[in-house]
């Protein structure tokens, strides 16, 4: 589904990614983990075309999408839940969900489905996103991505600031999506909860992929988690 090879990218003068590789098979759930500031978000931004790579390639569904405009990449099936929420403050909850909703593809997700997943949002339907609580914004960001009915979801710290119940709900939801054949790339700090969902962990260190393996393997290799995750 998604493959990036030897990706180099950064912000203006400061380089961040030094030959990042990563591959997500269709229908699988993969996590990207690492310490703060190692380049997880940058990787995501580069995949989405929001940052131009200086080297390397990005393939989506086999097609070379390197340096394409973000909307092309999104139209190719990528659904992003960005770090730090980034909902549209001046739109109401409802508008946030509808504005970028996409009727393309199977059209699994509808307003009602999202509202069922997060009843909170239904209650706040007319409220402007600016005044939502942190967690509510996070739910909105997730719902917004789902409404584009992506072939592949990218979640950058999507469970941040969510109450345990909601977090559990989201993980359950991911499990369901996985069952429905959705491809997912998830960035999260919560290994324990991820273990339920992900097939493979990818560990990133200083802009490079340094280790990959199943949750079980990671659990079996404490030195890895100690070295790269500090736990």
């Amino acid at each position: 589904m998604l493959r990036i090879e030897n990706l180099h990218a950064g912000y203006g003068p400061s380089r961040v990614l030094f030959g990042m590789d990563l591959c997500v098979e269709a229908g699988s759930v993969v996590s990207l983990i690492g310490r703060n500031g190692m380049g997880k978000t940058t990787t995501v931004m580069t995949i989405m075309g929001l940052i131009r790579p200086t080297q390397g390639r990005v393939y989506i569904g086999g097609a070379d999408m390197t340096g394409r405009a973000p909307h092309r990449i999104a139209q190719a099936g990528m659904g992003l839940v960005p770090e730090g929420r980034r909902v549209f403050p001046s739109l109401s909850v409802r508008e946030n969900l509808l504005a970028t909703a996409s009727a393309k593809r199977s059209h699994k997700w509808t307003l009602d489905k999202v509202y069922d997943l997060f009843p909170r949002l239904r209650e706040r339907e007319r409220q402007s996103a600016r005044t939502l609580s942190g967690g509510e914004q996070q739910m909105l960001a997730l719902g917004r991505a789902l409404m584009t009915n992506p072939a592949m979801l990218i979640l950058d710290e999507a469970s941040e600031g969510l109450a345990p119940v909601i977090r559990t709900a989201i993980w359950d939801c991911l499990v369901r999506l996985k069952a429905e054949g959705e491809t997912i790339l998830v960035i999260d700090k919560n290994l324990k909860e991820m273990a339920r969902v992900v097939d493979r962990h990818l560990v990133i260190e200083k802009g490079r992929l340094v280790w990959t393996g199943s949750p079980a393997q990671l659990a079996a290799a404490p030195e890895i988690s100690h070295r790269y995750l500090g736990v």
Partner: protein
């Protein structure tokens, strides 16, 4: 009116019958709670329960519709937001509020010079002549707080820091204000596992110096740190109690924890 809270063991922070509405929404319902000297008081509750709103009213960003806020036995309900830090309260935001164009050290330095609101006029922040950066002592001090919070890159513009690093800076600034009361809104959020662990130690160590009102969804941290926990649901206090009491409480499990702590 409401009588001043009893002064035998004056709580550092006392909320009395706070009430706040946003139009139809009742975001804070008759909330009363005490934060005692040197305690870490956790405030948990579902998303949208009204935790940040409560912090907002304590820090003066929001005016309560009714009720009063007491800091160290003084009624500060009427004070404006910028007057309160001078009385010894500091705050870390849930969604980072930082000076993006300055580097981390400068961010902290500003917190240092504005201690007690820069009230010491010409020796403090309101000084049009004294250069900020060429002040070695100030900068060293700033560095101390930075590595307390575990931030390793003091001279990089905040705009170029990663999300997690920003969260760390957020804490460093709050610490630098060296307040009697810390209001921390989800300090762990966005920090990687190891950073959260470090943060837990750090806060644990702070106990002696100040009191903390801690909002956090990371239950491991909460249960590890909190002396007492207040559970907020739909703007109202569900209960206040020790870790044990809260953990066991069925309502809390259903409304908030889910089967989360069953796992660990």
């Amino acid at each position: 009116m409401i009588a001043a809270p009893s002064t035998d063991s004056t709580p550092i922070l006392a909320l009395r019958h706070l009430d706040k509405r946003f139009g139809a929404l009742h975001a804070t319902r008759d909330v009363s709670l005490d934060v005692r000297e040197g305690e870490i008081h956790a405030l948990i509750g579902p998303n949208g329960a009204g935790k940040s709103t409560l912090i907002g009213q304590i820090s003066g960003e929001l005016q309560p519709d009714a009720g009063s806020v007491w800091l160290g036995g003084r009624d500060i309900t009427g004070l404006r937001a910028w007057e309160r830090p001078a009385l010894g309260m500091a705050r870390a935001f849930q969604i980072s509020q930082l000076y993006l164009e300055f580097d981390a050290a400068t961010n902290v330095a500003l917190a240092l010079i504005t201690r007690d609101g820069g009230a010491r006029r010409w020796r403090g922040a309101f000084n049009l002549w004294r250069p900020l950066l060429r002040d070695a002592r100030l900068m060293q001090q700033a560095m101390r707080y930075l590595d307390m919070a575990g931030l390793t890159r003091p001279t990089v513009a905040v705009a170029e820091l990663s999300h997690g690093e920003r969260r760390q800076l957020e804490i460093a600034i709050a610490l630098a204000q060296d307040a009697r009361l810390l209001l921390l809104d989800e300090p762990m959020a966005g920090m990687s596992a190891d950073e959260s662990a470090r943060m837990t130690e750090l806060l644990d160590g702070l106990r002696r110096h100040c009191s903390i009102l801690l909002i956090e969804h990371d239950m491991d941290a909460v249960f590890a740190l909190a002396d007492r926990i207040t559970v907020l649901v739909q703007g109202a206090v569900l209960l206040t109690g020790t870790v044990g009491e809260v953990r066991g409480h069925p309502a809390v499990r259903s409304a908030y924890l889910g089967d989360e702590d069953a796992q660990n």
